[in-house]
Amino acid sequence: MRTVAATNLAFWMSIVTFAGEPVEIEIPRANVDPTNAQCVVHHLPDSFLQQYRDAGAQSKGWRDWFSVHVVQQDRPVPTAMAGEYRIRGDSVGFRPRFPFRRGVGYIVRVNLPGEEELRSDRFTFLRPAASQARVEQIYPSADVLFGNHLRFYIQFSRPMSRGAVYENIELLNEQGDPVEAPFLMLDEELWDPDQKRLTLLFDPGRVKRELLPRQELGPAIVEGRTYVLKIKDTLQDATGRPIKPYQKRYKILPPDVTQPKPKKWTVAPPTGPDQPLQIQFPKSLDWAMLHRVLRVVDADGQALAGSTVIGKHEKSWQFTPDNKWARGKYRILIDSHLEDPVGNSIGRPFEVDLLRPVERTVPISHVVLLFTVR
């Protein structure tokens, strides 16, 4: 009773003869989960297997007669896949070091000693059907940008592939031509851990005054003009499928060199025990940071758990605690790193001219706003 036969995941493909016995190559089925899949050669004579039994796990001769290769452009790649060979009875199984990947073509090659002809068989694991990945939202969500804009967040509906972002995202001018080198290209690509959110930065050299790229190429975006941020369909999701193309149009405002000032925010305390706390900002703030840098703390200094909603154009924030509000005084702790989409933070502006006094720097870590639930 062979284990492999008992798995019921396999079927017999080619039959070769070796020392008078029929030798079979077993390849995995196309529709199974590739995680634990393996390739097996059955009915090998004991005299042939003995040399491998003697050499134990250290034996390196397996690939001379039994190897698995990726097929690319209809040809086997010369380097064989790394993996583990195991003898079970009169069979030898090959399990790759990393699981077979869906959609990739593979070939098993068996070339037994004394046989001139190379036996081979091909297999592929099917990719399950999935909806096409698309851009869910781009932040800033408004249709205007400041002339010194720094950062976009692009939220995708599915995990994406990394490594080809900058060739698949363009900024088009009013003539429909791509702006030259607008973005900061980082080999690491700034993805969140799920690879569903990309941070795209304008090249700070094109934003900051007196840096070389801006002097030579000028600013990437010019006040009064309109640009289109375009995500091409050649960008791939994590499984290698093209995405649904997307574009968003922005009109450019004058540069914004003011820092966010919490004192100018409008705080509306909750109107009932299960109503949200609401804060309005005079200007848009950084969408991602708004998710984590505001905290509501009760009179005992305990941070409240709850859910937040970021409002239209990132100009408002509301918080509903998991437990109902109790009467009393509360504080809103605002991390002074909180930035606007231009990179000005509460603590400091984006660009500091060291020869001129700074508008304001806040050396402290938090700014506090107070409110009372009555």
Binding site: M81, R97, F98, A181, D203, L212, A288, V293, T308
Partner: protein, 360 residues
């Protein structure tokens, strides 16, 4: 079945005995990488690996500490060979960094198999036998230093999607230096961690420096950096993504303070610096810098000790003189093999290749 159980029990014992820290503070354990990142060698064959997803620098003992004559390394189609070995098409392989063990001359690569969030990450070594092999991290003498990441607000249960990308690592003296930036607030940092890693107040002791260069303070990320002695004083030479080359003395790095660097060269736009090494040729010192769009530059160190940096408006390039090496095209990775040679990873139409070059 019984035999297998006994065998497993026997295997555990040496691991238990070996679980004391060695003189470098390394303990036997398993390293699970989540992202392929920067590599740097420290003393005695210790390899530092930057993992951006986990915001962690791992130190592992490669046990590759035998001095060799460092034979030239030339592998045509190493990208295809790695992809074949790992069972995927070449487009699904990302080589994130390359480092050469200064003792053995073996090449180490950090590689991602796949491009999605579920990519497998591994360290490959191209050894003297010419074969590319995987460095097993299942049981290895190792230590880790977690970089402080902005914490999720306490008690609110919200997920922290901020990540700390590590753009470069270099070992100098008794510290590992780490350049990085966050995907959210725009702040680039240069940190150093004393090695062996020491725990202070339950966390790792990390020093953070904020760079500034020229008249305008910038939070641009340091793309690549190296150490170089100027007037017998150790300096960091840092190349920023907006391409200025900046120097600052290592001794000027005071925790939490802003470091005012001196811009010593502007190397041109539409370009990002990739790797940098310092070397000597004919009694003179040079810096070799590879770039994404401006080829490999051999930069003179003549006059590098000047006090005043570039602060005037300039056009084109200025500062340290350099020549672009015309026959070195498509260099993605660069590291020094010995005093006279370097190894490069080159990408061209036919794929990726390792090549040994004489330092120019």
């Amino acid at each position: 079945m019984i035999r297998r159980v006994l065998f497993g029990a026997l295997l555990v014992l040496p691991a238990v005995f070996a679980n004391a820290a060695d003189s470098n503070g390394l303990k036997e354990g398993k390293v699970e990488l989540k992202s392929a990142g920067a590599l740097a060698f420290g003393p005695n064959g210790i390899l530092f690996i930057g993992d951006s997803t986990q915001a962690t620098v791992f130190a592992i003992d490669t046990k590759d500490s035998k001095q060799t004559d460092k034979s030239a390394i030339n592998v045509k189609g190493i990208g295809a060979a790695i992809a074949g070995m790992l069972g995927v098409e070449e487009s699904q392989i990302l080589i994130a960094d390359m480092a050469i063990n200064p003792i053995s001359g073996n090449v180490y690569l950090s590689v991602a198999r796949g491009r999605g969030p579920d990519a497998q990450v591994l360290i490959l070594r191209r050894g003297a036998n010419g074969e590319v092999e995987e460095l097993s991290l299942d049981s290895v003498a190792c230590a880790e230093a977690k970089l402080p990441n902005a914490p999720a607000p306490g008690g609110t249960g919200r997920r922290n999607l901020r990540s700390q990308s590590i753009t470069d690592l270099e070992f100098h003296g008794d510290r590992i230096f780490i350049a990085g930036l966050s995907n959210e607030e725009f702040a680039s940092t240069l940190r150093s961690i004393p090695f062996p890693f020491k725990k202070v107040n339950k966390g790792i002791s990390v020093e953070i420096f904020h760079g500034a260069h020229g008249r305008f303070e910038t939070r641009s990320p340091v793309r690549t950096f190296t150490f170089y002695d100027i007037a017998k004083e150790a300096h960091i030479l840092a190349a920023y993504t907006c391409t200025p080359l900046v120097k600052f003395p290592v001794s000027s790095l005071d925790v939490g303070e802003k470091v005012l660097g001196t811009t010593i060269a502007e190397l041109g736009n539409r370009n990002r610096p990739l790797d940098m090494v310092a070397y000597q040729q004919g009694g003179e010192d040079f810096i070799l810098l590879s770039n994404s769009a401006r080829g490999v530059m051999k930069i003179s160190t003549s006059g590098i000790d000047r006090k005043d940096g570039i602060e005037e408006k300039i056009s084109g390039t200025s500062g340290q003189s350099y020549e672009t090496l015309k026959d070195l095209v498509g260099v993605m990775q660069l590291d020094r093999l010995d005093m006279k040679r370097a190894v490069v990873l080159i990408k061209d139409d036919s794929g990726q290749h390792l090549k040994t070059i004489d330092l120019p």
